[in-house]
Amino acid sequence: MPRALKREAIPLTIIAGFLGSGKTTVLNRLLHNPEGRRITAIVNDFGSLNIDQEIIAQKHGNQISLANGCVCCSVGDDLTRTLFEVLIASDRPDHIVIEASGVSDPARIAAFASVDRELRLDGIICCIDSLAYERQSSDPRLEDTMRRQIDAAHIFLATKIDQLTTQEWVNFKRSLATKNKIENRPLIKCINGDVPTEIILGFHDTNETRDKQLKPIDHTFKTFSGHIDAMPSETLRMHIMSLAPNLIRAKGITQDADGPYVFNFAGERWAVERAPKTIPSGHFILIGFSDLSVEKTIFKPYTVVEHQH
């Protein structure tokens, strides 16, 4: 039974973290602010999601459709089957977000994207409850699960930081870095799930990187968009990596000797894929912390949006 698998890959973002780490709050905010994307979220449980009644268009079985085009599926106890059903549905989403269960190793879920050309791993976001971190990371029943979630993640959201003193925040960061190899992976402060959609999901499509007039998206972030010359992807990767640790995400399209390619960067994850020759190439968009600077780099911005704290 041959099937057409020639369609464009759907980006897959995994939101990991313990029960109570704030995944649901982040998801809830995403679904209310999808920024024009039709997101399908695969969640553990509708009940805790707390979606505003006025944006619910339809409820059907294990699925809730929202007026803004997003869909929410509850996973029951079979993530594999739920994801399979999302992928074979006639109505394909722009982006799939999986809320990992609090005990799962997100690397296992990420492997789905490696065995399916219709899926592309966008990134693994790990929520860490900054208040509970010290206790959880020293509990022998929990610490190895937490370590595996942290190892697999590309971007960290430190949640509940509004309840920490400055000293506690410093202690939390130190403890996290001592117990794990965080290296250049970004750690983002997150209060009530309030993180720009671009940080969670990356940029929507390559066209927006050229045309969209960006608005200031958050007071602690900075975005650049502009032109980029043709170059081999490995060269580009080196340039992108040189922007660490202040770069959080990058997306763009350029070309090498074989034609155009799309690149995606999330935290530390770098991915390239071939693009159709018809797509205009030569642009990029970056988002990073307010210290991000592209001076004296190959990235020539024609738009910089910044809002100093």
Partner: protein, 550 residues
């Protein structure tokens, strides 16, 4: 109609009358049990009796109760068996165990050409490469079987799958990815082996169908019942079913048939639900229950399997240094679920393989009982393979029962010595002896389709504690006697399902559910327990004779 059955011996599991020769059955229930001398009195008291002497040279036991099995056993027989050990199918055909990869490929080729629609996926199960040393099965092996359809070879554990190149080309495997779940050769090409959930996902995506969606087909329930009947089982569990409307309908449709030879106890799969939802669902379907279908248990899963290195162990973890298995459910959520179900009076069975998971479950029950102690709760730890003496004592204190996975001793005992836990911990694997000494209500099980359903074989494992290579796990202390084992596969399992007042022994008032054996297990003794053939079963007074087919 009142029927009197004569047997060479009836092993009743009733301590007041351990042996009898005659049993009177009316309306599917046992009216009287005794010796030949009582017949005259029975005829006087109960009116004309219809004599049935078809079992007069057989041994009658209470019908066996399989306290941990899965309906998937019935589904698997729609696919090709490729396991290492001989296994009997629903029709009584013995599929020879395959002792090399070449034999596996030969069987697949043989079954492939018999198929009507060659474009359908060829699905096989039971593959267990642990016995084949360094020789790994790869995509080229399966390409020898077929290149124009998907070939899907599920391992015995169901957590690993091998595929042919057709599958790899269909789904599109990402290059240069070092995922632990996609096996690659030295050149970095996928070998066709996928681990964990990814394997099932690949199978679905390559074929475009959910192979396991046919769970409710009549053929699946039929196969399952045949497997039970051939093993002497008259009550079997489907221990984790989502009990959606279509599942309940399918279960009712088949079990309502008078010729359906087994009672089914289907447990609600609880890991993906909030307790509130589970309690509501069990209440909604409560009135759909019948004498032959029970749906009054919630099944939770705390960890994975020991041989798959996904069980949750406590220090010093796995013998070979493999990373510890993760919880299958948040510890906080586990505590909440056990508390809430217990408070609502729902009967809980929980899968706990590793000693770490056992600790977690015991903590959760203790906390729950501090809030609400329910007499006669019958909550049961399933598998519970690594429990030590302290665990069993704690179970007794908490009033918990245990259903041990005794078949593991034979099938994976050697692997447990070598790789998973080492000789010292393996000595007390599935320690039925200690459970009984501690006074913990005991059952033993097959977890079919993980291993074959055959309670006499399971009893043999608990009595002899021999691995497949002939190693003994532990000494006398861990073994139980033949008498104890027989009680465990009847009354013991019935107790764990809260059914011991109606099944599990041959006593007045109970259901007329019998297993009819060719030979007497007490006289045959410990060594030959597994060789005894099941001639027939009786369910509610209806006889189901097994055809001889070998």
């Amino acid at each position: 109609m009142t029927t009197i059955y004569e047997a060479r011996a009836i092993l009743t599991m009733n301590p007041s009358q351990e042996r009898a020769t005659h049993v009177v059955v009316r309306d599917g229930r046992i009216l009287a049990v005794g010796q030949k001398e009582a017949i005259a009195g029975w005829e006087r008291d109960f009116g004309p009796l219809n004599f049935n002497d078809e079992f007069c040279d057989k041994i009658m036991l209470p019908g066996f109760v399989e306290g941990h099995s899965h309906m998937m056993e019935g589904l698997n027989w729609n696919f090709v068996y490729t396991g290492y050990y001989d296994r009997e199918d629903p029709n009584g055909k013995i599929w020879k165990g395959l002792k090399s990869i070449e034999e596996v490929i030969a069987r697949l080729k043989e079954e492939n050409i018999k198929r009507e629609d060659m474009s359908e996926p060829l699905v096989a199960w039971g593959f267990d490469p642990i016995f084949f040393g360094d020789r790994k099965l790869n995509r080229q092996d399966l390409d020898d079987v077929a290149t124009d359809c998907a070939v899907l070879l599920f391992h015995a554990s169901l957590h690993i799958i091998n595929t042919n190149s057709f599958v790899i080309d269909e789904v599109g495997i990402e290059a240069n990815n070092n995922s632990d779940f996609i096996r690659r050769d030295a050149q970095g090409h996928p070998t066709g082996e996928f681990l964990g959930q990814v394997g099932m996902f690949v199978a679905m995506r390559a074929t475009g169908i959910n192979i396991f969606a046919s769970y409710n087909d009549d053929s699946v329930l039929h196969n399952f019942a045949q497997i039970c009947q051939r093993a002497g089982v008259t009550t079997a569990t489907d221990l984790a079913n989502n009990l959606a409307d279509e599942n309940v309908t399918a279960l009712r449709k088949m079990t309502d048939r008078e010729d359906y030879p087994v009672r089914i106890v289907a447990a609600l799969s609880g890991n993906g639900l909030e307790a509130e939802e589970g309690i509501k669902r069990l209440d909604e379907i409560k009135d759909q229950q019948t004498d032959k279908l029970r749906m009054n248990i919630v099944k939770l899963v705390a960890d994975g399997s020991i041989q798959g290195f996904s069980a949750r162990l406590r220090w010093p973890y796995y013998h070979n240094g493999a990373p510890n298995g993760l919880w299958y459910i948040d510890v906080d959520k586990l505590n909440t679920l056990i508390h809430d179900y217990n408070a609502a009076g729902v009967h809980i069975h929980i899968h706990t393989n590793g000693d770490g998971a056992i600790d977690g479950a015991l903590d959760a029950f203790e906390a729950a009982f501090n809030k609400h102690y329910r007499p006669n709760h019958r909550h049961t730890l399933q598998h519970c393979q690594m429990a030590d003496r302290a665990h069993f004592k704690r179970m007794r204190e908490l009033g918990l029962g245990v259903n041990l996975f005794s078949n593991h001793i034979y099938f994976w005992g050697d692997a447990h010595i070598e790789a998973t836990m080492g000789r010292d911990r393996a000595n007390r694997l599935d320690d039925a002896g200690e459970a009984l000494r501690a006074g913990v209500p005991l059952a033993i099980h097959s977890d079919a389709p993980v291993t074959m359903m055959n309670p006499l074989f399971t009893a043999w494992c608990a009595v002899n504690r021999l691995t497949s290579s002939g190693n003994h796990l532990g000494g006398e202390r861990e073994c139980i006697s033949v008498e104890q084992a027989l009680e465990t596969i009847t009354l013991g399992a019935a107790y764990s399902l809260k059914m011991d007042h109606e099944i599990g022994s041959i006593e007045v008032g109970k259901r007329a559910d019998f297993a009819i054996l060719d030979r007497d297990p007490i006289f045959e003794g410990a060594e030959k327990l597994r060789d005894i053939r099941i001639h027939a079963t009786v369910l509610g007074g209806k006889v189901f004779v097994n055809e001889v087919n070998d």
